[in-house]
C-alpha cells in the first residue's frame, strides 16, 4: 500500500520541471533585508576609551522562496546577499533543499540539498528570527558565522512516545561546513570525508500556557584533512516558553556545546610537539554555552538579556564572554522590526585580553508572506 506513494514521490522529485504543464501557482516569495548601525569602543585611544562614529551597514538580505513541488514534497530556496558583498552584488545560496513530507514508510521525512542542519535549537533559525542582533559566541566559534549549514541528506522520524512529541533526525553531510567553522582551508588534496549529525528532541506541554522543548545533538567529522583528526560535538539545548496571552510571552533558551577533538596542530597549523620535539596528537576538550531570556511584555515590545561564554575549538585558553541586553520593537506585526542591543564582549587568551562595549541598532522588514515561526 505504501509502495505507490513512495514511487510517485521519488518520480516527482527527480523529474525535471519541464515535464510538468505550465501552472499559474507561484511559490511564496519573501524578501527580508536587515540594516545595522553600530558603535563600539574597541579602538582604544591613548589613555581613554571612546565610542566610534556609528557605522551604517547592510547586514544581509534574505530572499526565501518556498512551495510544494507536488502533494508529497516541498522545496525551499534561501538566497542571501551578505552585507560586505552588497556592492559586489554577490548573491549566495544559503539553503536549497527539497523535503519529502509524506508518502514514505514510517512517516519518515527526507530532506535533500543544502540546508541548516537540525543541530541544537538556534542553528535552524534564520538570524532575522532571533530576538537579539549578534550570534552567540559558542555558535560562532564552533559552528561558524553561517551556522552549521551543509550539503547533505537528512532523515527524520517521529518516535512512538505516546502523547509526547519526540523526533530523531539523522544527517549525512558533505563535511564542507567543518572548514568554514574552523577557518582551516583544506589543501590536502585528500578526498573529503563525510560528516554526520543527529538530534533527538522531545516537546513537553507543561501547562495550558507553558511548553518545554529539549534536545541532544551530536555532530562528528574529520576536521583535520592532513592528519585525519576527528572531532565530536555534543550539544544539549532547551527552550521554555510561557505564553499566557497572544501578546505576552517569556522565553528562556540555552545550549551547551562540548567539543572533543583529536588534533595534531592548532588552528594556525602549528604542529603539536612533545618534549623531545616529535609530532604528537592531542585530545582537546573545550566547551561553549549561551543562555537568553526574552520577555514580550506588550504586543509590540520585548526586552531580554543574553549571556554566553565559549572556549575555542582548538584551545582551552582562548576564551570569550558576552553579556548583552536587547530591546525589540515590532510596530506592525512582523513586517517591520527594530532591535537595539548593548553588548559587552571580553576576549581572553594568552598574551591578549580585550573588552569591547558595543551598541547596535538593527532594522529589518519583511516583504511578502511570512510563515508562522515554529516553537
Amino acid at each position: 500500500m505504501l509502495r505507490y506513494p513512495i514511487i510517485v514521490t521519488m518520480v516527482f522529485l527527480v523529474l525535471p520541471g519541464s515535464s510538468f504543464a505550465q501552472t499559474t501557482i507561484n511559490p511564496d516569495i519573501s524578501v527580508i533585508p536587515r540594516f545595522f548601525v553600530e558603535t563600539n569602543d574597541g579602538a582604544k585611544l591613548p589613555g581613554k576609551r571612546e565610542f566610534s562614529q556609528p557605522d551604517f551597514s547592510f547586514q544581509e538580505l534574505e530572499i526565501a522562496i518556498s512551495s510544494y513541488l507536488n502533494p508529497f514534497a516541498k522545496a525551499d530556496v534561501v538566497l542571501t546577499l551578505p552585507g560586505p558583498d552588497i556592492e559586489a552584488g554577490k548573491l549566495g545560496l544559503e539553503e536549497l533543499y527539497a523535503t519529502v513530507v509524506r508518502g514514505l514508510p514510517l512517516d519518515i521525512n527526507l530532506r535533500l540539498g543544502k540546508y541548516r542542519v537540525d543541530f541544537g535549537k538556534l542553528n535552524m533559525q534564520h538570524p532575522h528570527a532571533w530576538s537579539f542582533i549578534t550570534q552567540p559566541l559558542s555558535q560562532e566559534r564552533f559552528l561558524g558565522e553561517e551556522g552549521l549549514n551543509d550539503l547533505g541528506l537528512s532523515a527524520s522520524v517521529l518516535l512512538p512516545s505516546g502523547d509526547v512529541y519526540s523526533k530523531l533526525t539523522v544527517d549525512v553531510l558533505r563535511g564542507a561546513a567543518i572548514g568554514e567553522a574552523t577557518g582551516i582551508e583544506d589543501t590536502s588534496g585528500n578526498k573529503p570525508t563525510y560528516a554526520t549529525s543527529a538530534r533527538l528532541m522531545a516537546f513537553f506541554t507543561l501547562g495550558e500556557y507553558s511548553d518545554l522543548e529539549t534536545g541532544i545533538s551530536m555532530y562528528t567529522g574529520i576536521h583535520d584533512p592532513y592528519n585525519r583528526g576527528r572531532f565530536w560535538y555534543w550539544n544539549y539545548d532547551f527552550k521554555f516558553k510561557y505564553k499566557p496571552s497572544t501578546y505576552t510571552s517569556l522565553v528562556l533558551q540555552g545550549e551547551v556545546l562540548y567539543n572533543i577533538r583529536k588534533a595534531s596542530q592548532d588552528r594556525e597549523l602549528n604542529q603539536f610537539l612533545d618534549a623531545n620535539g616529535n609530532p604528537v596528537q592531542r585530545t582537546i576538550n573545550t566547551a561553549g554555552l549561551y543562555l537568553f531570556a526574552d520577555y514580550q511584555f506588550y504586543k509590540i515590545f520585548s526586552i531580554g538579556g543574553r549571556f554566553d561564554w565559549s572556549q575555542s575549538p582548538y584551545s582551552k585558553d582562548d576564551k570569550a564572554t558576552t553579556m548583552a541586553v536587547f530591546f525589540g520593537y515590532y510596530p506592525v506585526e512582523e513586517t517591520l522590526g527594530l532591535r537595539l542591543q548593548y553588548q559587552n564582549r571580553k576576549d581572553d587568551m594568552p598574551g591578549f585580553s580585550q573588552a569591547v562595549n558595543s551598541i547596535g541598532l538593527q532594522v529589518l522588514f519583511s516583504l511578502g508572506p511570512h510563515k508562522a515561526h515554529p516553537f
Binding site: 516541498k74 508518502g103 502523547d163 512529541y165 511548553d211 506588550y298 510563515k371 516553537f375
Partner: protein
Amino acid sequence: MKCQMMVLLVALFLHNAQATVKVVTTLPDLADITQQIGGDRVNVDFIVRGNQNPHFVDVKPSYMMKLKSADVFLMIGMELELWAPQIIDGSRNTSLDVVDLSKNITKLEVPERLDASQGDVHRFGNPHYWLDPRNVRTIVQEIVASLAKVSPNDEQFYKTNADAYLKRLDTKIAEWELMMKPFRGSKIVTFHKSWSYFAGWLGFVIADQVEPKPGIPPSPSHTTELIQLVRTGNIKAIIVEPFYDTSAPEQIARSTSAKVLQLPTSVGGADAAKDYISMMDYNIETLAAVMK
C-alpha cells in the same frame, strides 16, 4: 450459560466495531458543533483556545501530535489559520482528511486589490463567518459529510443529531433576531473586522474599526477621529475581542458615552461561552443591554 457467553461476546465485538472518529478542529466552536453531531461516536479536540487570537498561533509540536492520529481536521479556512499547513505537514498523517468549511459560505469583503497597504487582509474575504449563526447550517452539512466519509455506517446517526441541533439553533436564531430587532440600523464600532457577518445578520452598521486597517494597531490620530465619530453618530457600543488590548477602546469610551464590550468570538472566550449557542446568547444579551 453458553448462550449468554455468546451474546456477551457478540455485544463486545459490536461495541469494539463501532470505532469513534477522531476529529481535531482549529476553533473550539467547531469542536462543539462536531460534538453535537457526532455524540459519543466522535472524539473531538481543538487547537485554538477561545481567548486566543486565531490569526496568530505558535506552531507547536504538541498540535502536530493531536493531528498525528486524527481522522479529520476541520478548519474555518479563508486563510484564517495560516499556521495550519505547518501543523498538518508536521503531523505526518497521510490519511488525514483536511476539511475547509468555508467552501460553500457566501463570503464578505473579498478584496478587489490585494496588497499590504490594505493591512492584514485575507485574499479570500473576511473569514469570521461563523459569527453569523445562519452559516452554521452550512458548517453542519460539511461536518456531517466529512464524518460520514470516515464512518459511513453512522451517517444516519450524524444526520439525526445534526437535524436536532439545527432545530434548536433555528429556534435560538429566531429568538436572537427578535431580541435585536429594535436595534436594526444602529451603528457600532468594532476593534477588528471580526463582526462583519454578525452585524450583517442583525442589521447593525459598523461605523469603523479601532484598528485603522486590519491588523494595524490603533494610532492616536485614528483614535481621535473615532471619538468624534462615536460622539456624532450616537454610537453606544465598541466591541472588542477578548485577546485585544482595550486601552484605545477605553480611551474612546471615556471621551464619549459608548461602552466597551468584550465579546467572545469563540467558545471559551468568556466564562458564559460554554458552547456555541451559549456564546451567542451571551453576545446578544450583552449587546442588547447596552443598546437599550
